[in-house]
Symmetry: C2
Subunit: 512 residues, 2 copies
């Protein structure tokens, strides 16, 4: 079948009871109720501490064919996922579905366990490195499922993604099982993704390198959700978990894109007291923070709230009073972790609060402006952030489609050319975010406004940015670098890209 | 049938699919999964604000026969419940089940609507005044269900108490629907009971007299759970919501009971660094705080955490560093509300975190010591806190059975005589808390230790308190006041007392 953005979706896909084609950002009305974990009893003064990950796996009753989850707040410093999968392999358990909130290069270490059949399916926001290649090569028993952060929260809450055992990396955990991410040598800040897993998984195992005597506060994940606690030497590499202060880009092309993006915001009609903003963590996004801040200071504008993936430039704006509060689902650097620890207006939020389309209003619904990056875009404003120029999975859906759907103004920033490849195509290889939710595309050579947004076209007429049709932007790119050939693919579907509402916006086919 | 504490329970009771007799504090293993609200969609920039309670009732789709819930944090200052029931009556909706976390005298105002059939069933922790009399007189279409705070959270989470529409009194609510209880003229402090309703009700209506522009922080109930917001002039009477600083009792009998209770704790073996404590809000309980504090200071003991229903004497201990943190489900006075607002170690908790027996460990499971009051006790250590000497409902189950089951040492304090009535009986009229979870009964004339706790009998041998058998204590009372006659009742069951796990520990029959 063909979905609402013209993508061909197979009628049946292994692992899906029902293939629902994408039909528009708010077309799908959910049915039924939110689900919850199996009910259980914990007797007074029960001991949650077990001696090893192996013992926790046994106690949790992990069996062949079950689903295990992880959170990616430790990013490329994560030790937990590899450690647990290794322990599971040692126990001879097979055929598991791995459902982390995302995967990083560091997780390439589990590839032997995929080859051995310990892991046979993956549901994630993204994958990179060798894991991305492995998925793209069709090495799993069924297509991987790619979900946005909001889509994953939704899938967990409605039971489509049922987690048997969640393994939570806990930078600080008390003897009752209360957890936060802001204390300890492996502090990662917000535990926003893990909060959903902990609330819905049948069994929850906290793995910590920093067990403290209760009471721990603040509490991000409560003792009422934690079954077992395991203490290990180290849950992550601090250098990989959080970077030091990021230097703002000196790449003139990124700076130009950032300046254009800031100017688009300035002239968009949304740049006024009380506006809200989300910034990505990419170079141009971070650079845009600098220009936006200058404009806010110059014009005396105070925003309402920021949302993210939080980085130091955003924290700086919070501390300067340019925003009243930050909602934080994940921290990217040490400054942000420290800010979450000390600033009462820096608020931790769950992935559901952030972006779940099927609750009574995630914070993305209240966003005025978001700046997003892209691997490639097309003349229908569709955005790819998951596959590279060879059709290989090397990115993540993240909050891209969530924020684009929620924000009043979704700006996508991208270089017009990457190497010798035009980034504005006839059709992106993989659609993660549908064009109808993208308002403006900003490149170093020009700014294209989605024709659905005539109001924005009008407002940007006087802006000092080169506004043009998306087709003209594409022509510049093609004139410079030639029209690229489509990536040749076969019929085999190796991954399914779910839209945030659970419909299928695209599939990734195995490149030939 | 006869349950495990010898109470006769009818085989079938209107309103119960399955009558499960109480079989022991941890005998019942729950089946199935936690449930959740109906899934829904809230589009970006949707307006949650509606013009009136009537409009909210319409928008929420309230219909005949549904269940509505309220929280009792405004105590006898509550305007919300009466206001909403009145509005529902005006709309001609009938046959509702009223399921507040508890009822107070102020709610006597809804009696006309019960008589008119607007409300035909009640599920609550307690009732007083005319409402208590009305329930006891069998004026409802089916027996009322009395639940503990933990039992109510459990019933909501597993779906036994399904709430169609929850009405949340919101001392502060932002334009996105985020709520806290610590700001505004009607500040009530913790919203612990309401947190469960908001998380599980199909529709949630916030009613506030203090709407603020987002972002509001801290957040007690998140925007992701709130469907509609209504602004009214006033949600409660501050004088009824929170009292000023309570004076410690000068009643010599209460002081003696308090001193005995403190001494029992001192000699119990639990009185050491890192111990945890819950105090009731009754006179003897509050007075006990004073004696306990003195002993802690004198012996240099620092506790771990306090739990409650929080009152000023407890806050004082927190501020003096005698406890490291407080877990707070409800505030009784202004001092406690202010403490929750300003002290980072004063932690708001939900009723589920407090006491739900069917999660992975409520905080009552980690309690060392609790002091509880009683209307009457019996020689099997069973406790009644719900019916008076005429068999009329005039109290509340509250956290009584929850903390008794959870705490290592559950002390019940009560005067030996109330007026001319002995408070130690052969059988209490109504069992709320089973004797097997009660360790010590403290009266002004003597202290009785549950024979199941030989360890405590041994430890209290050297304590300067008059330890005696419960039968001897009863004899003193009977010698002074005579053996009381049992309250004559008929067959009609007017209320069912659920144990916290959902089994039935007793029924209340209509007095003759």
């Amino acid at each position: 079948m063909i979905n609402a953005i013209g993508r061909e979706i197979p009628d049946t896909i292994t692992g899906f009871n029902q293939v629902r084609p994408y039909a528009g950002p708010f077309a799908l009305m959910p049915e039924g109720r939110a689900t919850g974990p199996k009910l259980s009893v914990n007797k007074p003064r029960s001991e949650k501490l077990v001696a090893s990950i192996e013992q926790a796996i046994e106690a949790a009753g992990l069996k062949d064919g079950m689903t295990i989850s992880f959170h990616h707040h430790f990013r490329n410093g994560d030790y937990i996922l590899n450690m647990v999968v290794e322990a599971i392999a040692r126990k001879g358990i097979k055929g598991l579905t791995l459902a982390p909130s995302s995967l990083n290069d560091v997780n390439d270490a589990i590839i032997p366990y995929i080859e051995q059949g310990v892991i046979t399916a993956i549901e994630t926001s993204g994958a990179r490195g060798k894991l991305g290649k492995l998925i793209t090569a069709g090495k799993l028993a069924k297509p991987a499922i790619i979900r946005s952060h909001g889509g994953r929260a939704r899938a967990i809450e409605c039971g489509e993604l049922h987690i048997d055992v969640a393994f939570i990396g806990a930078p600080c955990c008390d003897t009752h099982g209360n957890i936060n991410g802001i204390e300890g040598k492996s502090a990662c800040g917000s535990l926003g993704y893990a909060m959903v897993d902990a609330a819905y998984a049948d069994k929850v195992v906290a793995i910590t390198d920093n067990l403290v005597t209760a009471p721990l506060y603040p509490i991000s994940i409560p003792q009422t959700q934690v079954d077992y606690i395991v203490v290990v030497d180290s849950i992550g590499d601090p250098k990989g978990i959080a970077s030091g202060a990021l230097r703002i880009s000196r790449d003139p092309r990124e700076l130009l894109i950032a300046e254009y993006a800031a100017t688009v915001i300035e002239y968009s009609g949304y740049f006024k007291d009380g506006y809200s903003l989300q910034l990505g963590s990419g170079g141009a996004s971070l650079a845009a923070a600098k220009f936006i801040k200058e404009k806010m200071v110059a014009q005396g504008i105070t925003g309402s709230f920021g949302v993210g993936g939080i980085t130091a430039p955003f924290v700086e704006m919070l501390e300067q009073g340019l925003f009243k509060a930050m909602y934080d689902v994940q921290d990217f650097d040490i400054v942000s972790i420290q800010s979450l620890r000390k600033n009462p207006n820096h608020l931790e939020m769950s992935a559901s609060f952030y972006a779940n389309p099927h609750n009574r209003g995630p914070i993305v619904n209240n966003l005025d402006v978001v700046i997003l990056s892209a691997t490639e875009v097309d003349v229908d404003f569709n955005v790819n952030v998951i596959t590279d120029s060879n059709g290989v999975i090397m990115g993540a859906s993240g909050g891209h489609s969530d924020t684009a759907a929620g924000a009043a103004l979704a700006i996508v920033v991208a270089p017009l050319l990457r190497g010798r490849l035009p980034m504005v195509r006839d059709k992106v290889h993989t659609v993660v975010t549908p064009g109808e939710t993208v308002d403006v595309i900003v490149t170093e050579r020009g700014v294209a406004v989605n024709p659905r947004r005539q109001d924005l076209v009008d407002r940007l007429k006087d802006a000092p940015v080169p506004v043009m049709n998306i087709e003209d932007l594409q022509k510049i790119a093609y004139d410079l670098a030639g029209k690229p050939d489509p990536i040749p693919v076969g019929d085999e579907v190796v991954a399914v890209v779910e839209y945030r509402d659970g419909s299928i916006i695209d599939v990734i086919r195995k490149p030939l």
